[in-house]
Symmetry: C3
Subunit: 349 residues, 3 copies
């Protein structure tokens, strides 16, 4: 299994990053990272929980970061880096590693940048990326190749916009945002007036505002408002293949799983957890700290801290209770048949 | 809230476009448009219904287009443009505004156009767009940057093909069509023959035909036919993230909401309304003026004017009626238990 | 109906490819292919089943490939090519035709290929495609225009990567794979740690491994593993708009229909058939030869050869049996009401 390629560290270098104590070979060389259940020679992994302690002495990994309370011996097959909390230390390490990967700077040959566009200090713009008039790219932001940036778009500092993302005219993206490949920000909302001859397009002249610290996965569609703005609030995280319709307002620190769709003008509060393949109708309000189970269909307002399931969605517990009986309906029908037969017997008595 | 940036009109200019009467300052300057519930200084909005009349005198907007029957005074805080139907006038204005945005013309530096391709008069082809041999782009059509156009593709007049759309070999697009970013027209249909060694690809050698006045949202996948054509009929409007499989035929003036999928060879009539996240199986026929509720799963033929819900989908009213009892199943089961206990009592008498 | 444009063959050429006998005009000219139910003059079609035999003498096609057991006369309106199995012969012909379409070779003007990248013999790299450092493209592979290939990516032999596909750093693709337009391989998995201040990104440092003979449709999102690899096994076929989350492992020869989503770390065996719009939760195991009905929500482990339906998914037959009663719930409730009324009558006796 290949991962974290091209790294090369010694156990003692790793230990110094996370303030760990080495048991074994200071110079053990690490060239990659494996999950503990499929460790490879030359790789690093970690053990943070007692229930994985059987991998001590048995994993093929050369170096293991281990929580100190799990360690019972002075000597293991692998080189051990003993730390207080192995999970935390491993995260610190991975973050460090990612930062070391380096950022690019400057405008690559073959990018097309309008004369009136502004590219900030230490920003990167990749080849075949198109930046339209009066667009503004903030300091340190990384715009990968083949991105489309429309007129008057503003992108904040330290963003990462992946290859093939499209950001249409006048949309605004805050600082520290990540937008993955092939996501479309600011496509027209789906609005038509029916006439006898067919549907007449209603102009979609608003924009999309994405606040700071938002991450949006790949292949998402976030439509511009008819007038005003579609808004994704600070710190909200959106998975892949998600539909956000025109004039939707999403608050802060929401987590929305893959393939979910939110219809027009719906308003969503803060700290909600929305599962995958959920559908939410238009023009409703969802409060805060709500949990919506995967595949649910939400058709009316939702109060704070509710947990929902089903289509149309009802309380999670009620849905599961009813579903138990749903599965048992053939049996219930037999019981009703019996009761009716008995009742007839009585009547015939 | 930012919207309709960079416009700059006076109240009297606006009034002249829509034949309105001004109450207030002819020279009031408009630099943007807001929804009435979040108006901003210097912005234009409209009031078409009595229930929004409390925004008269209270909205921060500088100019309001108002239906004349709502007006009761000779003087308001804002400059008023009085018209017969404010909603209609506002739409007229937005359409005008969009048209004034201007179209581009000519082939941008960095586009790759095959010698045998034909680009019509007043058409625009953006940078990094690839036009293959014998492709034909009609008069006035706007092909944005980074689009892929395959061999022998024909695109009609006055179309707009957004950045990142892919139109594969021999597909045909009519006049006045809009295809949004990252939509794929003419990818291979999903057809394989099972063999003992695995699945063998069945060549997908047909195409996709998109008739006039069709709009297709972003990130859609519309597959080419195995042989013959996948067809999207005149005036049909398709939202984002939608799957149309090989050999599907869709009629005229349908509206299909986001994330719906239609499986292979299904035939759909005219004027149907299909909700979001609907699944329709392959090889069935759906009539005309059918309504399919969001998240439904349609598994058999549908007659004209039916309304459906559920998975598998049944009549909308029947589904809702049954769902009320579904929610109440725990209570029903208690009642059955009681009846059985009573019945035993009788038996034991 | 337009299809298979620009071909031009005589009946005798076609017959020689598939070892058929001609009844009629050896020199009948074919310029396209039609489905039998919408045949056109000058086109070829086929009849492999008795139930389509009424198209003999009535189809507008000029040449028909027909299974010999269906033929009863020595003379038909159309030129007939008689073969043992018309369906098989037609497939052979379509495969031949597709191969004749030709492959491109070489690097097109305007592609951006890093000095350290390696492009194999007879491979094609289209304009505006970006190939990053140390990437490797195998012999004969066709990389269409506007593709993004990240650092250290390895693509095997004879692959086809369609326009707009994105393959992120260190992902590995085997031989004979097809990846359709705008699919994203190796985007970050959706992993965050909740903190009081918001969600903190967990670095996603693994990759995606796609084994030989895999086909992946358009607009799919296949996320890289957190550490280790997300794996798509040999011969598996994936339709459009599908989500595969981080650390999922899919075995060999699976068929997964459009708009299905598989959540993180789930493990799927071999030869499974997964319908469209299915949701599969994370961290479960699905065996082999399982069939999952469209729109199902799978929430727990699945044994070999099970067939599932519903959300949450249960046995297909059980779901349908219960659903019959679900549709009938209003009637069942009436029967319970009656029983209760009768029971009261008895009690009141």
């Amino acid at each position: 299994m290949l991962s974290l390629q091209n790294m090369e560290f010694t156990a003692s270098q790793i230990a110094s990053f996370i303030d760990g104590k080495i048991i074994g070979d200071d110079n053990a060389l690490i060239t990659g990272v494996s999950p503990i259940e499929s460790g490879e020679t030359g790789h690093l992994s970690f053990i943070a929980q007692e229930r994985f302690s059987h991998y001590l002495d048995t994993s093929n990994c050369s170096v293991l970061i281990v929580s100190e309370n799990i360690l019972t011996k002075n000597n293991y097959t692998q080189t051990i880096i003993s730390v207080k909390d192995a999970y935390l230390s491993f995260q610190v390490l991975m973050n460090l590693y990612q930062e070391m990967q380096g950022r690019k700077e400057g405008v690559e040959d073959g990018a097309s940048i309008h004369d009136t566009a502004v590219v900030g200090d230490k920003a990167y713009v990749g080849a075949f990326t198109y930046v339209s008039e009066k667009a503004k790219i903030g300091e340190g932001s990384q715009i990968y190749p083949q991105v489309y940036i429309g007129k008057g778009v503003k992108i904040g500092k330290n963003c990462k916009i992946d290859s093939g993302a499209r950001i249409y005219d006048y949309c605004i993206i805050g600082d520290n945002c990540i937008i993955h490949s092939n996501t479309v920000i600011g496509g027209d909302g789906f609005g038509f007036q029916p006439t006898a001859d067919g549907f007449k397009k209603i102009p979609q002249l608003g924009n999309v505002i994405i606040e700071d610290d938002v991450e949006i996965g790949s292949n998402c569609s976030i439509d511009r408002a008819t007038i005003g703005s579609t808004i994704i609030g600070k710190g909200t995280k959106i998975d892949n293949l998600i539909q956000i319709a025109h004039n939707v307002k999403i608050g802060q620190n929401n987590v929305i799983a893959s393939q979910t769709g939110i219809a027009g003008s719906t308003i969503i509060g803060d700290w909600n957890q929305i599962g995958g393949q959920v559908g939410i109708v238009g023009h409703i309000k969802i409060g805060n700290q709500v949990k919506i189970q995967a595949q649910s269909g939400v058709t009316s307002n939702v109060n704070d801290r509710e947990t929902l399931y089903g289509s149309p969605a009802i309380s999670y517990n009620d849905y599961l209770r009813s579903y138990v009986h749903f599965r048992n309906l053939p049996e219930l029908v037999k019981r009703i048949n019996n009761l009716e037969n008995n009742s007839k017997d009585h009547t015939n008595e």
